[in-house]
């Protein structure tokens, strides 16, 4: 059975702060559908606290907002007003004069029972109003998470869309020379902090992916020289093989309800797509071709599956019903297409494209139309979606003896950024929003 102890771990009590009701129509907003937006100038003040923590919390919030490309946090050296009591309205004129269109104030205090209390208010300085205010209680060691949650609340208030800062990333950490790479599964916060290695052996491990409940991952391991798909419980470290197949299983992903793992089974020269129901342990074969069918990914409603196949000669993207019915090709551009991933919003499919000796990351609509390339280079591979369907992560290998690094990029193709990691890193998979 799935455990949800992460939720218990972070005892979260969120409530609207009384006193300043959020107005119905906020003046400060970002229309993120316009493409390359001008980042919104925002002042994130040090949260009031008796120690360094207040400044640390506001630094995490400001970094999240800045990295999104939608906000431009203003340097603290420009601030005029020093916030002493975050329960009082700020002097809006002091913030307007430095062009801070939005202002974040807050407080972090230690409760008598040891818990941390973090509260914040988001202000529209030109309208002179509070947009939102919330408070949270948590264990002190979770202070970064609370900062991410506050950043998500600010992002949501101003963009109108769900944030993605309170999330984690699983990936393959790579070290050593190319001819003798050591690969470990690793997990970290989306901003690169709190890195933890999940495996430590010389077995090759690849393609970790989150379950929808965020408590387990499915991945592929060469343990015992038997390349197979595994499940790993993040809390307990418990592992198990998925199914008892007569060949290599690889390219696993969870179904949106978390009840099935979909993957490829290799038999002789062919790979076909199977699902295994995690409760009944029954397996179902979905494709049956003398070809390589792999990289399956469900639509968020679970009704359809996108995958890649070379049944037509080159790798192309195909869509089928969740029962394997109605298999049809959707990619028709110049080149080959692989590693499709359905957007959490359902409207787009991200992919790797190989064309003219270059590797690109792109998106297309679920019917195959509207292809857009977001980035192109020597080798870009393996996109994964932020839970709001707004940002993608992928990995890039530049020419030369070095190793892969993870990058994030906005859906518009702007705001490409390195995702920091302690070693070379590949195969990122973004978690759903934590709870």
């Amino acid at each position: 059975m799935m455990k949800c102890s992460m939720i218990r771990l972070l005892v979260l009590l969120a409530g609207m702060l009384a006193g300043f009701a959020a107005p119905a129509g906020a003046v400060v907003e970002i229309n993120i559908n316009k493409g390359n937006v001008e980042p919104l100038p925002i002042a994130v003040t040090d949260f009031v606290s008796g120690n360094d923590l207040g400044a640390q919390v506001s630094a995490v919030i400001a970094a999240d907002l800045k990295r999104s490309g939608l906000f431009a946090p203003i340097s603290k050296t420009a601030f005029i007003e020093k916030i002493g009591n975050p329960d009082q309205a700020p002097r809006f004129e002091d913030w307007k004069v430095i062009n801070a269109q939005a202002l974040v104030t807050g407080r972090v205090t230690q409760e008598g029972d040891g818990r941390l209390r973090a509260e914040f208010r988001l202000w529209d300085t030109f309208a002179g109003k509070q947009l939102t205010g919330q408070q949270f209680y948590t264990q002190p060691e979770n202070w970064r998470r609370v900062a991410h949650i506050i950043a998500d609340a600010i992002y949501k208030q101003i963009t109108g869309e769900q944030g993605y800062f309170d999330t984690r990333v699983v990936f393959v950490s790579e070290s050593g020379p190319k001819t003798a790479r050591k690969r470990q599964l690793a997990i970290m916060d989306q901003d690169g902090f709190n890195v933890r290695m999940l495996t430590n052996s010389n077995d090759i491990v690849l393609t970790p992916r989150f379950s929808p409940n965020r408590q387990e991952i499915t991945y592929m391991s060469f343990e015992g020289n038997q390349p197979r798909v595994y499940l790993l419980q993040l809390e307990t470290g418990q592992r198990e093989v998925v199914g008892n197949f007569p060949g290599m299983t690889f390219s696993p992903r969870f179904s949106p309800d978390g009840q099935r793992v979909i993957m490829s089974l290799q038999q002789d020269g062919n790979a076909n797509i199977y699902t295994m129901d995690l409760r009944s342990r029954t397996t179902t074969r979905l494709t049956s071709t003398a070809a390589i069918d792999t990289s399956p990914s469900y639509s968020p409603d679970g009704s359809q599956i996108v995958f890649e196949s070379d049944r037509g000669g080159r790798q192309q993207l195909y869509v089928m019903g969740a029962d394997g019915s109605g298999q049809r090709r959707i990619s028709f551009g110049d080149g080959s297409y692989s590693t499709p991933v359905w957007s959490p919003r359902g409207d787009l499919i991200a992919f790797t494209k190989q064309s003219g000796g270059k590797f690109s990351i792109g998106v297309m609509k679920a019917d195959g139309s509207g292809e857009r390339i977001l980035t192109t280079g020597f080798h870009n591979e393996g996109p994964t979606w932020a839970p709001n369907g707004r940002v993608l992560m992928f990995f890039r290998q530049n020419a030369g003896a070095g190793g892969p690094q993870m990058y994030s990029i906005d859906l518009t193709g702007y705001n490409e950024q390195v995702v920091k990691s302690p070693a070379f890193a590949s195969d990122p998979a973004w978690s759903p929003l934590l709870e």
């Binding site: 190319k178 038997q226 007569p246 290799q266 020269g269």
Partner: protein, 180 residues
């Protein structure tokens, strides 16, 4: 890139005193991929099991198989067809395995890095399967053969051009070995 060149490369360090091997290594360097970039694959590739003196492999040893027969074949880009030069190598492998029937083998399939990870796992498996099928057609019993694919995860040659990629698109016949 010929089979002999790569064998020479992977064995350079142990056999460097052998003038024939030195000549082969030199020809490889001229072919465009600096030989220092090539590192041995594993203990088997180094011939550590053969105990040959000055490169003279004991007949029937792993080293004999690797050096005198040839343990690997190469493929064209995105292809799983057994090329004519590869067929000659596999014919020798089949003869050798008939002569030494105690060996079981694992065929390791590999891909170059110019592909996506998951597809390359399947492509390596397809190359291993094609190799196994060819060996079976030359009389090697199927129950002596296993296969495994490492996709693009275990390159032997590291550079950013075709001289390396062509060495990495390979199927390696490993005596013993572990596979499925």
């Amino acid at each position: 890139m010929s089979r002999m060149n790569t064998v020479a490369t992977s064995r350079m360090q142990t056999l460097a005193r052998n003038p024939v091997v030195l000549a082969l290594a030199l020809s490889l360097a001229l072919a465009g991929c600096a030989s220092k970039k090539n590192l041995p694959n594993n203990a088997n590739d180094l011939g550590l099991n053969g105990n040959g003196v000055n490169g003279a492999a004991t007949p029937g040893s792993t080293q004999d198989f690797t050096v005198n027969v040839g343990d690997r074949i190469f493929f064209d880009t995105d292809s799983t067809s057994i090329r004519a030069d590869a067929a000659q190598t596999l014919d020798r492998q089949a003869q050798w395995l008939a002569q030494y029937p105690n060996y079981a083998i694992t065929v390791e399939g590999h891909a170059d890095e110019r592909g996506t990870r998951e597809y390359n796992l399947a492509l390596g498996a397809r190359r291993a399967a094609a190799t196994k099928q060819y060996l079976a057609s030359r009389g090697v019993p199927a129950n002596r053969m296993k296969t495994i694919s490492y996709g693009k995860e275990k390159p032997v040659a590291v550079c950013d051009d075709i001289s390396c990629w062509s060495q990495n698109r390979r199927a390696v016949t490993v005596l013993g070995g572990a596979g499925m």
